[in-house]
Every structure is written in structure tokens, then in C-alpha cells.
């Protein structure tokens, strides 16, 4: 697969010598555009470390990562391919957090439009893009509202719109349904599936939410820094 995200032999070691901890050990993953996969594992298994490596927040110790057909990290060739990891995150990786973490002093539109603006797009075009996404996520009627005026579900939908704003090839979702009840959690997963398909974005959902695990068609189990791929139930929630 050329597009999507591919990880080969990714390892991360914290510390050195006797105190060294191998948080990730030869992790392999491959997610196609438009696919939503689950990353499941107990606390301390390495989920967050993997997410941080994929999100270009911390540097892996070894391995290779390809994003949208382009190698972004290869330890055999000196590590990150770009020095500007900030731009890499901004343009090519979307983030959804456990809590929405919307910027409280920006309205809904500008929370979404901020990313294209940071990427250098004109304010008008950025806001048009934001409105298009808010419409797709059915929160365009709250476009001028402040984040504090939104319900939890609406906030999460706005954070999904923000993650999609720069059309990244991959979105990393860190327990996006954790604070939500079953109905809202399923609604969020429905939206993620729909957006992945509509925008051909690969989405990795880190979770230990039992309610949504049956939804994934593919699941990566992570334990002691190693991943095991297995087929999921792929329950239809459309």
C-alpha cells in the first residue's frame, strides 16, 4: 500500500543502561486510507508512546514510518525526514483527544479554521473550509458559538472537524469516546467512519472502551510494547 500509514519495526527505548525501558518493540502497522482501526491495550502497554511517535511528538529509537506514500521517519537514514515537525503535524496529522481541548477563546469556526490559517491559507478560505466540515459534521448551526456553549457531543464533533481541517492522510484519536455515554460514543464512531470514508483518511483510534471495540474491522492489540493484529467484529453502526 502506498497511501495511508505504514510502520515497520518501530521501537522506542526510554533511558539507557540498566534503567532503560523498551516502551515499543518492533511495532508493525499498516492502515489504508479511509480505514478506521482500533489500538487496544491495557495501561502502560505502550499505546500513548506509539501515538506520540506517530504524531511526531517524540522520536522513535528505531524503525520506519511512511505517511501518505512518503517516508517521514527512517532510523536507518538519520531519523525524521523533515526538521520542521511542527509543520509535519500541522499539515499531515490530525489529532483528536480524549477531551475535545478546543481553544476556549476562539469560536467554533475559528477553532477549525485555525489549522488552515496556520498552514498559510487565507482567512476567508480557511473559514469556508471550516464551515464545510462543520456542515459535514452537522454542527454548522453552532458555527459562531463559543466552545463553552456546546454540549460534549458537539464539542467532540468540532474537534473532529479540526482534525480534518488540513485534509491529513492520518488522524490519531486518543480515546475519543472515553467521556461519552454509549449513545454518544456510537455517534462519534459513526462520524469517524463516515469521515474516514468521505475524506479518505486513515484513522487510528486508541481505546479501551468496551462499547466501541466491536465496531472496528481491524484491531491492533498492544501489550508490553508489541502489537498483534486481529480481525474485529466490524459491527455495522450506520
Amino acid at each position: 500500500m502506498d497511501q495511508g500509514i505504514h510502520i515497520e519495526g518501530l521501537s522506542k527505548r526510554y533511558g539507557a543502561g540498566d534503567t532503560a525501558v523498551d516502551a515499543l518493540k518492533e511495532v508493525n502497522m499498516s492502515i489504508a486510507p479511509g480505514e478506521v482501526v482500533g489500538l487496544v491495550g491495557p495501561s502502560g502497554s505502550g499505546k500513548t508512546t506509539l501515538l506520540k511517535c506517530l504524531g511526531a511528538v517524540i522520536e522513535p529509537t528505531r524503525g520506519r514510518m511512511t505517511l501518505g506514500g512518503e517516508v517521514i521517519y527512517d532510523s536507518a537514514q538519520g531519523g525524521w525526514k523533515t526538521k520542521d515537525l511542527r509543520a509535519l503535524r500541522r499539515d499531515r496529522i490530525g489529532f483528536i483527544f480524549q477531551a475535545p481541548y478546543l481553544i476556549p477563546f476562539l469560536d467554533v469556526t475559528d477553532n477549525v479554521a485555525l489549522l488552515p490559517m496556520l498552514a498559510g491559507r487565507a482567512n476567508g478560505a480557511s473559514r469556508a473550509r471550516a464551515l464545510e466540515l462543520l456542515q459535514a459534521l452537522d454542527v454548522d448551526h453552532r458555527a459562531k458559538a463559543q466552545p463553552s456553549e456546546l454540549s460534549g457531543g458537539e464539542q467532540q464533533r468540532v474537534s473532529i472537524a479540526r482534525a480534518l481541517a488540513n485534509q491529513p492522510p492520518v488522524i490519531l484519536a486518543d480515546e475519543p469516546t472515553a467521556p461519552l455515554d454509549s449513545q454518544r460514543a456510537l455517534a462519534v464512531m459513526r462520524i469517524l467512519n463516515q469521515m474516514a470514508s468521505q475524506y479518505q483518511t486513515a484513522i487510528i483510534v486508541v481505546t479501551h472502551d468496551e462499547k466501541i471495540i466491536p465496531i472496528f474491522k481491524r484491531i491492533y492489540h498492544i501489550r508490553d510494547g508489541r502489537t498483534v493484529e486481529e480481525a474485529g467484529e466490524g459491527r455495522d453502526i450506520s
Binding site: 499505546k47 500513548t48 508512546t49 501515538l51 506520540k52 504524531g55 511528538v57 517524540i58 511542527r86 509543520a87 503535524r89 500541522r90 499539515d91 489529532f95 483527544f97 480524549q98 481541548y101 481553544i103 476556549p104 477563546f105 476562539l106 475559528d110 479554521a113 485555525l114 489549522l115 490559517m117 496556520l118 498552514a119 482567512n123 463559543q146 479540526r162 486518543d174 480515546e175
Partner: protein, 397 residues
């Protein structure tokens, strides 16, 4: 691009404005302290201008009449008038004392002057000039006297016939102008008990109470009772002469001290109010440091309250300089609000001060620059904290 600082300020404007008002009151206090110093300098200059003199002739080896006591004979002015270049010369007395009016007292500088001569108040805001030789007074409005009111200076009552404005001593006390003779008496005349005691001593002195010289005792007693001292002679220089050259002549031939306007300003500003100026300078320095600490603390606290948002901003690709700019702009915004509030507050409360507070535009401009610099410096602590935020903090774990 969106102004993150502007949006944040608008979002929490209530907190921001209240903080700005608090800071503004502190800046207002700082501006007022500077105004108090300016007022003291201005009072000193007004004092010299109101005297209408080019030269102050005082007792030798003194820096009188304002900074030190000076005592010269009241006929000195005749000799001064005879010097080339002198257009006018007149005696004056200055005495700071408690003046009674009704049941109240107010601290004033009582000035003895001769009508039509240097030392007379230059303009009146109400009433008339002195027409009688005794027991009339012109007072500065700040003394709180009304026209027609009777005030008591030493043992005599005076009627306030005129009011003037901005005539104060270098210490800010309002002036009360009375005829020279009355002022000499008020300043130098002994009380009745002292006169009786002196007369008794003189009478007991065989050298002064000789039976063979009738009238000697009376003459000595009369000489002791009448005082012929003044504090200074004010001199106006005629056309074609310079104050310095005339002052040199007076110093050389009259064995008196003569100060020109420049020298008198030096005495008043550099010497008389120097300690007060240093005191105010210390206050200004402390207030500036306190303001800086407050701005630093507020901006730092505000930034710490946004650590998660800053981590998210960094994670999604916001440049460090945009985040630093946001904090800096907020600090400057706070400084701007503080300055505006401070300037308005100082302007409003300055007239209520008992001493003259002069708020100069130049000082306000300098204060504005200092506030902006202080805010910039104060924001560095918060910027440092924000730049140290790891974008990974936005991701759980």
C-alpha cells in the same frame, strides 16, 4: 491570521479589565508621585516668579531667604538702590507660621512686602490690593480664607481684602501677604513679657541707666523694641544690565550674599527639595518594581491557566513565536489598560491633594514607555513557561 491575544482578551475581558484597573491604580499612584515631585519643582519656580525679582540679597554666608534663615537691616536696600544697574530694590520678610481664622488654623507663609515693589502679588483673582498701611491681607485661595474674613497673625487681626492664586512657598504652603511693617512686627517683635523683662534688665544696668544722662534709658528701650530687620532685599535689574553683573557688585561692595534667579533655582530645586526628590525617587522605583512583579505574576498565572491549550496549539502546529506573541500582546494590553486607567485616575485625584500635583505630558509619555518595557520584561517569565510546554502534554498518558 487570527489574533490569539485579542481573542483571549475578548473572551475573558472582565478578568482582564479588572486586573488592568488594579494595575492602573498602581500606575496612577506612580504617576502621582512623579506629579508630586513636578509640583514641588513648579512651586519653587512659581515662588521665584511671583517675587518678581532678578536678584535676592540676603545675609552673608547664608542661602536665604527660602532655604535658610537670613537677617539683614531694613536700610540695606537704600545702598543697593544706589548701585549701577539696579532699577528697583525692596525689603521683604518671609515667615511660615500657623494663621488663625475663626476656630481653625492653617499653615501659611506670611510675606511682608511694600506695595508697588518687588514681592507684591502679581495678580488677584478676587478683591483688591492693599490700600491701608496696616492690618490688611491678601491670601492665596488655597489657604481657605474668604474675602472680608478676619484672620489672626500673632497679636493682630487682619482683614482679607484680596485673593490670589498659585502663590505658595517651596514647601507648598499658601502665602498670606501683609504690609512689611506688620510682617516685621509679627516676625521680630518680642512678646510683652519679654519686653518688660528686657526693660527691667536695661534699667538695672548702670551703664545704660545713668542718672546724669536723662533720656538714655528711654532711647535704649525704644531701640530694643523697634526691629529693623528684614529677610531679604528683592532687586529688579534695569535695562542694559545683567543680573549676574549686578549681583557681583552687591557681593563685592555690600558684603552681602546676592543670588540670581538661576542660583536661587539651584538652591530651591537641587538643595531644598533634594531629599524629598530622592524620597519620591525611591517610591517611584519601588512602585515600578511592584508593578513589574504584579504584571509578571498576573501574566504568568494567566499563562499557567492555559497550559493545556498551549500544548494543543503547539501540537497542531502553532509556532513558538505566535504563542510568545500572544503572551507578549496580552502583557502589553494589560499595560495599556493599566496606563489609561492610571492616567485617568491620577488626573482625577490630583486636585484633591493638599500640595500641588503637576502631571506633565512628558512624564506620562515616559511612564507609558516604562510601563510597556516593564510589561515586556514581565511577560518573559510567562513566555519562558509557555515555550517549555511539551506538545506531548496534549496527548494523554
Amino acid at each position: 491570521m487570527i489574533s490569539l491575544a485579542g481573542r483571549d482578551i475578548l473572551h475573558s475581558w472582565g478578568k482582564f479589565v479588572l486586573t488592568g484597573i488594579g494595575l492602573g491604580l498602581l500606575i496612577g499612584a506612580t504617576l502621582t508621585m512623579a506629579g508630586v515631585y513636578r509640583g514641588m519643582v513648579d512651586d519653587a519656580q512659581v515662588l521665584l516668579t511671583n517675587s518678581g525679582a532678578d536678584i535676592w540679597v540676603v545675609q552673608k554666608d547664608t542661602q536665604g531667604p527660602y532655604a535658610e534663615a537670613s537677617n539683614i537691616r531694613d536700610d540695606v536696600y537704600r545702598g543697593v538702590l544706589g548701585l549701577p544697574g539696579v532699577a528697583q530694590a525692596a525689603n521683604v520678610t518671609y515667615l511660615t507660621m500657623q494663621v488663625q481664622h475663626g476656630a481653625r488654623e492653617s499653615r501659611s507663609m506670611v510675606v511682608g512686602f511694600e506695595p508697588g515693589q518687588p514681592g507684591e502679588p502679581t495678580y488677584l483673582v478676587a478683591g483688591r490690593r492693599l490700600l491701608r498701611g496696616h492690618y490688611e491681607a491678601i491670601a492665596d485661595v488655597k489657604a481657605g480664607f474668604r474675602l472680608g474674613e478676619r484672620i489672626r497673625i500673632r497679636r493682630h487681626d487682619y482683614e482679607v481684602v484680596g485673593l490670589t492664586q498659585r502663590t505658595v512657598s517651596s514647601g507648598g504652603d499658601p502665602m498670606v501677604f501683609i504690609p512689611l511693617k506688620d510682617a516685621q512686627e509679627a516676625q521680630f517683635l518680642k512678646d510683652n513679657d519679654a519686653i518688660i523683662t528686657d526693660r527691667a534688665r536695661t534699667a538695672a544696668n548702670p551703664a545704660l541707666n545713668r542718672p546724669g544722662v536723662p533720656g538714655l534709658l528711654d532711647a535704649v528701650n525704644a531701640a530694643q523694641t523697634v526691629n529693623r530687620s528684614v529677610n531679604a532685599v528683592l532687586v529688579k535689574v534695569g535695562a542694559g544690565s545683567t543680573a549676574e553683573s549686578v549681583a557681583q557688585e552687591i557681593r563685592r561692595w555690600k558684603h552681602l550674599q546676592a543670588y540670581t534667579r538661576v542660583q536661587m533655582e539651584e538652591i530651591l530645586v537641587a538643595k531644598l527639595i533634594a531629599t524629598s526628590a530622592r524620597q519620591i525617587g525611591m517610591f517611584l522605583a519601588i512602585l515600578t518594581v511592584v508593578s513589574a512583579a504584579i504584571v509578571a505574576f498576573i501574566i504568568y498565572t494567566m499563562t499557567l491557566g492555559k497550559i493545556r491549550e498551549i500544548a494543543v496549539l503547539k501540537l497542531i502546529g502553532t509556532r513558538n513565536r505566535s504563542i510568545a506573541g500572544m503572551i507578549l500582546q496580552q502583557a502589553l494590553g494589560l499595560g495599556l489598560i493599566g496606563f489609561v486607567v492610571g492616567k485617568i485616575a491620577a488626573t482625577l485625584w490630583a486636585p484633591a491633594f493638599p500640595k500641588y500635583v503637576l502631571l506633565e505630558s512628558g512624564d506620562a509619555l515616559r511612564a507609558f514607555i516604562v510601563v510597556m518595557l516593564v510589561c515586556t520584561l514581565a511577560s518573559t517569565l510567562a513566555i519562558r513557561a509557555a515555550l517549555k510546554v511539551d506538545p506531548a502534554e496534549a496527548i494523554g498518558g
